[in-house]
Symmetry: C2
Subunit: 441 residues, 2 copies
Amino acid sequence: MPDTTSSAPLRIALAGLGTVGAGVIRLLDANADLVTARAGRPLEVVAVSARDRNRDRGVDLSGFAWEGDMTQMASRGDVDVVVELVGGADGPALTLARDTIAAGKGLVTANKAMIAHHGLALAESAEAQGTALKFEAAVAGGIPIVKGLREGAAANSIEHIYGILNGTANYILSTMESSGADFATTLKDAQELGYAEADPTFDIEGIDAAHKLAILAAISFGARVDFEAVACEGISRVRAADIAQADALGYVIRLIGMADISTDSSGAPVLLQQVKPCLVPKGHPLAHVTGPTNAVVAEGNYSGRLLFQGAGAGEGPTASAVVADLIDIARGEAGAPFSVPAAALQAMAPAESGARIGQTYLRFTVSDRPGVLAEITAAMRDADVSIESLIQQGRANDGGEVLVAMVTHDGPESCVTYALQLLADSDSLTAPPLVMKILED
Amino acid sequence: MPDTTSSAPLRIALAGLGTVGAGVIRLLDANADLVTARAGRPLEVVAVSARDRNRDRGVDLSGFAWEGDMTQMASRGDVDVVVELVGGADGPALTLARDTIAAGKGLVTANKAMIAHHGLALAESAEAQGTALKFEAAVAGGIPIVKGLREGAAANSIEHIYGILNGTANYILSTMESSGADFATTLKDAQELGYAEADPTFDIEGIDAAHKLAILAAISFGARVDFEAVACEGISRVRAADIAQADALGYVIRLIGMADISTDSSGAPVLLQQVKPCLVPKGHPLAHVTGPTNAVVAEGNYSGRLLFQGAGAGEGPTASAVVADLIDIARGEAGAPFSVPAAALQAMAPAESGARIGQTYLRFTVSDRPGVLAEITAAMRDADVSIESLIQQGRANDGGEVLVAMVTHDGPESCVTYALQLLADSDSLTAPPLVMKILED
């Protein structure tokens, strides 16, 4: 267990020297005096490890011991805390995390996949060992949202937690909004500008956001982390026409991760977790979040709506979050990683999404022929879905398709689902409809 | 010193049973289970005190000891922490705070005036006693900005801290914006709706915001709290015409508290602290903050821009912040109230505001006669102030006045000040000009 009372340096081993690892070293050097003053003791890197020893990272590593096998860091006698910045839900990162905690050392990680999959087991071990497990950098980059929930909003029953959890997806959607360009073009530009990776799947399909959401939901609701239960849908089906129609109706489109707690018919708590593109009213704070920014809204039963916004990724912001965790540990703060002891986190069944009452945006791509609109509106009527507004594009596009977009009045999502079932076999629809929730203002 | 390791209840004495005090009691009752789980032990109110024992506050006080003289709470043997919600920079609140800390008990307060004036001395005592002094609720209501700076952004050198720190002033300005009404009418409506007090001086003249700013500046920059050095200007001189002209130029008007650190010619750190109405570009996150909401921007050298937004006052949000502090104490978190030890906070001289480079909005009220515009623009030229845009109202108002509004290019504020000196004796001006900084995007 790290010595949390002395003014002796907190001795750090750093596994992974990519962008964030190099950023941590730079930050600890540039801000050394103030970090020492705030932590009450120096933060001192003693050992580092990475795949390639010889790569130039623009930081001087000569003062640190080099560990060829990073999993050996856990057993070094000269280390109090290991910072894991290797990534990957399993493999060496997980081995290092387990061994570090088992050795009674603190662990700081930016690894959202590992925490989403194994955070619960790691937290149980850390609590049993009385050592720290911290992952501020795993959620929303530089935004201190884990601390914001664990400490800032700790007095509240959180009623809703939702936000923009992936900067790449937000960059693409907000760029489509300002440029009018389509998804494929915007993604390609984003890749060239470095806002999207060569393989963008994790970002644009919502998986990265789902990792973060599962962590936020656990802290917010005292639930066991359940990544598998996150219903996940990406942004690749959002068209320029959807953004234009949303705009005409007073909305923007954002990829929103949201978690809500409710009770099922037997009174047991059930957890809704989903990452999906949503319509956000232009007056909502999340509508103004553009570019690669992240923002999280926590609605507490006493605090009301709290908004936390900042850079969702990048060297500086992520290093800022990692070092904030190290300062916490240096100060002796080593409480339950998920705010309540891991053993007290409740297993909650996934909620039926259909029970939600709200407005929905539906966009159909249909053949340009008579009667199609009547078919769609009849299905809505038969499913008891009330339509607030409907836009039909005047002319077919190059593929002979017409877009029909509509916004429903408040109603149960299950009715919308039923309407779509009624239309499932229709040969008027040229592609599966795009269905997006509308956030309340 | 409170017992911070056991699972015994944290025993609380509550001084002041106004809106916030009653809210704390309600919150601790409604959220008892989750607060206990997160704090690791029950939070238990044992004694209360207020001026009037018989007033109906809508909460059951029968389970608590009644303390007729609240300053006696400090010496009660059955109390670990005193919550001070009485208010007033001095008087009984300060006596209670001093005695509580001297007795080795923790102190939680929502009293911004007391912390702005005496926070440094109280922090020194608390650190000497090894006990907690916490004041999350003193700044920006329910927004966890003290924790956000002390913990979330702890790794950063804060480069700028600024925000909307007074809900009443923001309600008035944003209502003037949406309604087009003038200041006096809007204030009167706000008073009738309960958004402004009968004596609104502290809110509309920026004093309340200045208290909060002085606290934020100390934490952000490691400076000794220096409320007296805050340059303070309220919103009562802002006219509907200013808001309309700002709008035409792409801005909204907000009462902004801002603090910046820089160095003087000898290299010593100097601190700029001011609360003033400012023009905020419509693309800036603070431009979207309407109604009685608060929002704080902290720009760190690694985190980049962080935004914290939420309710700035009210029973629920303030109680949320008070209880978050109590949970911190129950968890054993009793670090330096201003992030670094009080003795390490630096005395910093006030910065010369004129050194700032930026854009400025100037609004003159002038007599409706020939040559006035030439006089003003000549003064600008002679002071080396470059004008980006100028709007002159077409016709004189009822008082025979014409408004001339202009926005300068980037330049030193000292030049603007010099231009105003050149015009000080002009009999063309019917009132002192209104000068507002323009925030960068």
